[in-house]
């Protein structure tokens, strides 16, 4: 079980108090300056970066203060590098997606910001 520090409660609490709320820093298409069509909507709703390495994630302290916050967590070792409040700048960068350098720009395949 992970021990997660809630940045609002300022306490380290067991994982069962939290729910995982998927990729953080994912703006809606219109906020990212893109047209709100089926393609972009599908990307926003269903597509995830699913990073192998350090990823920015949203968590909810569901059985605690019930606030959403963000975590930078290594998805291989499960080490939580940092947790920070919603709206704050991530203290550590995300891992690049493996092999991204080799990729070509097919219809701007990137997901959210």
């Amino acid at each position: 079980m992970l021990l997660i520090r809630c940045p609002y409660c300022e306490q380290e609490r067991p994982e069962v108090e939290f729910s995982f709320a998927h990729q953080a820093h994912k703006p809606r298409p219109e906020a990212a300056g893109e047209p709100l069509d089926d393609h972009n909507w599908a990307r926003w709703v269903y597509y995830q970066k699913n990073i192998k390495g350090v990823a920015h994630e949203r968590w909810n302290h569901a059985a605690g203060c019930r606030k959403f916050f963000n975590a930078a967590r290594d998805t291989v070792s499960s080490e939580i590098v940092a947790t920070y409040k919603s709206g704050e700048t991530p203290p550590v960068p995300e891992s690049r997606i493996e092999g991204e350098d080799l990729s070509f720009d097919y219809e701007n395949a990137e997901g959210g910001a």
């Binding site: 079980m1 992970l2 994982e15 069962v16 729910s19 995982f20 998927h22 089926d38 393609h39 909507w41 599908a42 990307r43 709703v45 269903y46 597509y47 995830q48 970066k49 699913n50 990073i51 192998k52 990823a55 994630e57 967590r73 998805t75 291989v76 070792s77 499960s78 997606i97 493996e98 092999g99 991204e100 080799l102 990729s103 070509f104 720009d105 097919y106 219809e107 395949a109 990137e110 997901g111």
Partner: protein, 423 residues
């Protein structure tokens, strides 16, 4: 130069007797480990059950034998050897029922077809219903199954007790059993034998199985795939079939596109071996628990997925504990048993709990992934359908509904109810 076929000895009673005379020292190699050639007609990435089945049916049904199967570890070392071996086809929607029932029909002749005992045992599968909503959902699924020609039966509590005498219908007060769906043709198969059997047949037909060969990138020119970069050098390919479990988004990002999957750890555990106590498979969707007994006598128990994304092949202790609590409530006689081994595998889960079998934004590149928590049961069907898709270069009747485009059109195949593991 193309890969050479190699005729195999047949496995039968006479061969067993003959080899017993030489103390079983002279059984031939099951498959060779060749060095990769410069190029192949088709390169399959992923040497699990699905990948090997794809190569097998490409060779057998479509006459394409110049194939390499690239496996980053060893055959049977990934999710193929990490699942709980359950086979069934009682899925709700027509598209998935067609796919899983296609697989079920292939399972029924697989041992004979491969001349390899995959120990397919049609011992029946029950999916328990614990409350009124479960009962209604289960009845709906059973009725949908019957319309699709699948042998699904609804059992009430007394019916469940008749099939599984060891069950406590009160579920310790926490998980009362009100009914179940029952598929008598469902059951289990020896998971790694499936991979070995396909690998052996592939090798016989001249398919190259290349182990310890990790893909590190793709050669893509003008939107057309030309080859793959691997830890054993560049391998040219006219077509590439990606059949990764657990790393599909990593592979896709190498090719420059994204997928709607999330990778989660799914875990299972086995107990110490005991005498036969349960002769069927019991699954409970609501409490993340499923149980069967292996031929060795171990209880094979599956747990739920961890809530967070992970690429580390292990599950959390508290999930295993939750599962065992439920098992003990349903089967009080197992309370004092010891668990011997526990392991985890990474499953790529789609938002609708259905797989992706699709052409991709890259010409000549095809993708079969996202089987989530229930890929093993589909192994022959998935390979058979995906082979047809690759050979024709376009979707078939079976694979078309599972295209990536469904996330844009909204034509989702929501199988969370039939997936039997809450996501």
């Amino acid at each position: 130069m193309v890969a050479q076929p190699a005729k195999k000895q047949r496995f039968n009673a006479l061969a067993l007797f003959r080899n017993a005379l030489s103390y079983h020292q002279n059984w031939e190699q099951q498959w060779r480990s060749p060095e990769p050639l410069e190029a192949y007609d088709v390169v399959i990435i992923g040497g699990g059950g699905h990948g090997l089945a794809t190569a097998y049916y490409l060779a057998k049904e479509h006459g394409i034998t110049n194939i390499a199967v690239l496996e980053k570890g060893w055959i049977g070392g990934g999710n193929t050897g990490r699942n709980t071996t359950i086979v069934r086809s009682n899925y709700l929607w027509d598209e998935s029922a067609a796919m899983y029932e296609h697989a079920m029909k292939l399972w029924e002749g697989l041992t004979q077809e491969l001349n390899y005992n995959v120990m397919f045992s049609q011992r029946g599968v029950l999916n328990l219903a614990h409350n009124l909503t479960d009962v209604r959902d289960t009845q709906r699924r059973v009725n949908a199954n019957r319309l699709n020609g699948i042998d699904s039966i609804y059992l009430d509590a007394a019916g469940v007790k008749k099939v599984v005498p060891g069950i406590d219908l009160r579920g310790g007060g926490r998980y009362p059993v009100m009914g179940a769906s029952y598929q008598p043709r469902g059951g289990t198969a020896r998971h790694d034998a499936v991979a070995w059997g396909y690998a052996r047949k592939c090798d016989e037909m001249g398919v190259h199985i290349i182990q310890n060969c990790k893909v590190t990138g793709f050669d893509i020119e003008g939107g057309v795939v030309k080859g793959v970069q691997t830890t054993k050098g560049r391998i040219g390919a006219k077509k590439v079939g990606m059949v990764p479990a657990g790393h599909s988004s990593v592979l896709a990002s190498m090719a420059g596109f994204r997928l709607p999957v999330e990778s989660h750890p799914l875990q299972a555990l086995v107990s110490e071996p005991i005498k036969p106590t349960i002769d069927t498979v019991v699954m409970s969707n609501a409490v993340h628990a499923y149980i069967s007994q292996s031929d060795k006598g171990e209880l094979v128990i599956g747990a739920g997925v961890d809530q967070y994304i992970s690429y580390g092949q292990r599950g959390s202790q508290h999930l295993a504990e939750e599962t065992l609590v439920a098992i003990c409530e349903l089967f009080p006689q197992y309370k004092r048993m010891k668990m011997l081994r526990q392991w985890g595998g990474i499953v790529d889960v789609c938002p609708d709990a259905s797989p992706i079998l699709t052409s991709t934004p890259v010409d000549g590149m095809y993708l079969n992934c996202g089987w989530g928590t229930g890929g093993f049961k589909a192994t022959p069907g998935s390979g058979h359908a995906f082979a047809a898709h690759i050979a024709k270069g376009e979707p078939t009747e079976l694979t078309a509904p599972f295209a990536l485009s469904r996330f844009e059109t909204g034509f989702l195949i929501d199988e969370h109810g039939a997936a039997a593991v809450a996501h």
